[in-house]
């Protein structure tokens, strides 16, 4: 097959700002044989890939492959080059991500590839559940991949990623908290069903708007239309035409999903994901916190 990956699977009429960043399940089915396309499955449950996956898809494990085993950070440039190369990915490869839980972890992996400046990354709309719901083929066969050379590239931690210090400097500009309403108000210090990833203090970063990540998704895990997304973020959350937005959640995975929406579907020019998120902020000494449903005062 010599089909190139330039033609995206999502209709341009979707109106998304960067329609080429999102592909449909049908597009993936049509391009499985393309030499220049590598499909990566990124799940919360690491065993899920082994129970059946898209034929030819390779597994990427966010915990063992993308996170540094010691420091709370991502792997470094050499290791990233090794991991990408081991999946048969070169700098020219079109990498399509998909996964469980409406693509939480797929968006997270895509975002890490973005930090390393990988030129062509895409998300499969609807993720793993949609592929299976449509009765498409899955297999337990793990593809044999010959490692290829991926160049060692510096990670850019300033354009799409925010640190705690960046957030402190950001006060006065829009912040989006994508956690559940009870986490936002501070009534609970963890997400429902995830009690161990708790924090010492509950609440939210002052001035942050609450937009739970799932608001961006339809029941089948696909993204809502541009029109609906504009209403949710631009109007209801008050982002307007902002040129600088920071999103956060608990450990940075749900906010990767929102980062993708703001950056690529709505086309905001500067959107950073604060991956330290609440597990850093809510455990840090002397940082300002707001509780309750109000956004809270701008810290002085």
């Amino acid at each position: 097959m010599t089909t190139t990956a330039d033609t995206a699977g999502i209709d341009k009429s979707s109106g998304y700002a960067h329609p080429d960043k999102l592909v449909s399940t049908q597009w993936v089915a049509d391009h499985l044989q393309d030499e220049n396309v590598v499909v990566l499955e990124s799940n919360e449950d690491t065993l899920l890939y082994s129970t059946g996956h898209i034929p030819g898809a390779r597994k990427i494990d966010w915990h063992t492959e993308l996170n540094d085993p010691v420091a709370r950070d991502f792997i470094g440039p050499e290791e990233f080059a090794r991991v990408a190369g081991s999946k048969g990915i070169t700098r020219d490869t079109t990498v399509v991500f998909y996964g469980d839980k409406s693509n939480w972890w797929a968006a997270y992996a895509l975002w890490v590839f973005t930090l390393y400046g990988h030129p062509d990354t895409r998300l499969m709309n609807g993720g793993r559940d949609k592929w299976i719901a449509e009765g498409r083929e899955t297999t337990k066969d793990v593809p044999q991949v010959a490692p290829v050379e991926y160049p060692v590239t510096e990670r850019d931690d300033t354009t799409e990623r925010a640190s705690r210090e960046d957030v402190l400097d950001h006060f006065g500009k829009p912040l989006i908290d994508v956690r559940s309403p009870l986490e936002y108000t501070g009534e609970v210090t963890h997400m429902d069903g995830y009690p161990q990833e708790g924090t010492l203090r509950g609440g939210h970063i002052p001035t942050a708007a609450s937009v739970p990540w799932a608001k961006a998704a339809n029941e089948d895990g696909t993204f809502k239309s541009r029109e609906e997304l504009e209403r949710i973020y631009k109007e209801d959350a008050g982002l307007g035409e902002s040129d600088d937005v920071v999103a956060y959640c608990r450990i940075g995975e749900r906010s990767s999903h929102t980062w993708f929406v703001l950056r690529h579907l709505l086309g905001y020019e500067k959107v950073r994901n604060y991956d330290g998120s609440w597990t850093e902020w809510g455990n840090s000494v002397r940082l300002p916190i707001a509780i309750g449903a109000d956004r809270g005062e701008l810290p002085r």
Partner: protein, 167 residues
């Protein structure tokens, strides 16, 4: 971390996990997930009557029964304190799209089902770390398994009455 001090079946399972490298540990856990027995008729479709393990990242339900060691009959929860010799029967339900939780449930079901209540209570709380999965899985996952074991033991100690506490 060793397999010492564990009931025989569980010791065998722990030794199997400890004897293989990390990637194979996950394969082994996957095999366990495929072996989780289906719920018996009295529980199938009645997950709402079971106890939900909310510490797990997916819907997981368990039921613990104590059976009389002589008659083999289930002892009613309100029949007064049960004997430490009572036989533990363990039933767990976890969805196929949550293979890690299913795998842990299956390890516990195979390792604990049919043992005397007192023996189950003596299983060390750090069982999940003895499997050696600390690198391959997130701490959140491992704590999910500890929570499962903790709930099983608390169920039993509640039924045995005073003087028997979950370790």
């Amino acid at each position: 971390m060793t397999a010492a001090g564990l009931p025989e079946t569980l010791r065998g399972i722990v030794e199997d996990f400890q004897s293989v490298p990390d990637p194979e540990k996950l394969e082994l856990l996957l095999e366990f997930s495929e072996e989780l027995p289906a719920l018996p008729e009295r529980y199938a479709g009645h997950e709402d009557e079971m106890e939900q393990v909310t510490e797990c990242q997916s819907p997981l339900f368990l039921a613990v029964e104590l059976h009389d060691p002589r008659s083999g009959q289930p002892q009613a929860p309100d029949a007064g304190p049960a004997s430490p010799d009572s036989i533990v029967r363990l039933f767990v339900s976890a969805p196929p799209e949550a293979p890690t939780s299913r795998g842990f449930a299956s390890v516990l079901a195979q390792g604990l089902d049919g043992l005397p209540a007192g023996t189950v209570l003596a299983v060390p709380a750090d069982l999940s770390s003895r499997l050696g999965l600390q690198k391959a899985l997130t701490p959140l996952r491992l704590r999910g398994m500890s929570a499962m074991l903790g709930r099983i033991k608390r169920n039993i100690s509640d039924r045995l009455g005073s003087g028997q506490t979950a370790g």
